[in-house]
Subunit: 115 residues, 2 copies
């Protein structure tokens, strides 16, 4: 089976630095680089009283981080199409910036077609 | 089990209008409204020779559309947190704008914790 892209769904628990837009932005920049994606646009939104959403649109699709500091939880999505990008390479970047004690990962192959 | 949010992964096949940034933008606006989300930012990127990516950042998380006109395929993600938003309400909007002959849907509950 051939697919258009790979989509990693990452659940990060017991994290730190979840309320810093700067950390989220830096993590997105390094994650983009780590998985060899080409950054087109990056935006970070902060929420009141807490929480950050960061979106990196890349040529290969997207990398997204949503944080819930009150739960020490972050939801991360890495969707890359093509053969060059390596979505799993974002994991060490997320570990470095958010220090999760636990990560759950699911990989979904998007646009799956029989050859 | 309680979750932070619901994430719908939608695979749309045999679609039309996949190369129009205007249609993608309009679909995102109506999808946001349909699922009762609050739009914070909307951006549409076009690719050469074809393909469109549209990102709607909403208070409740995100709605994303990536299109591959050459495959008549679109990958759509709708991630909403909170009780008010109804992610499944985007389906009629997607049907109206892209006319998929086939839709595959998966729902992932994000940030799942035992009560």
């Amino acid at each position: 089976m051939k697919s258009v892209g790979r989509h990693l769904i990452l659940e990060l628990w017991e994290c730190r630095e979840l309320n810093s837009p700067d950390v989220v932005e830096q993590a997105l920049r390094e994650a983009t680089e780590a998985c060899k994606a080409n950054l087109l646009d990056l935006k970070v939104h902060t929420f009141s009283p807490q929480g950050v959403t960061g979106v990196a649109v890349v040529s290969e699709s997207h990398i997204l981080i949503h944080t819930w500091p009150e739960l020490n939880y972050a939801a991360v999505d890495v969707f890359t199409c093509g053969d060059r990008a390596e979505p799993a390479a974002v994991v060490p970047v997320l570990q470095k910036h958010f220090g999760p004690q636990r990560i759950q990962v699911m990989e979904i192959r998007r646009g799956l077609v029989s050859e």
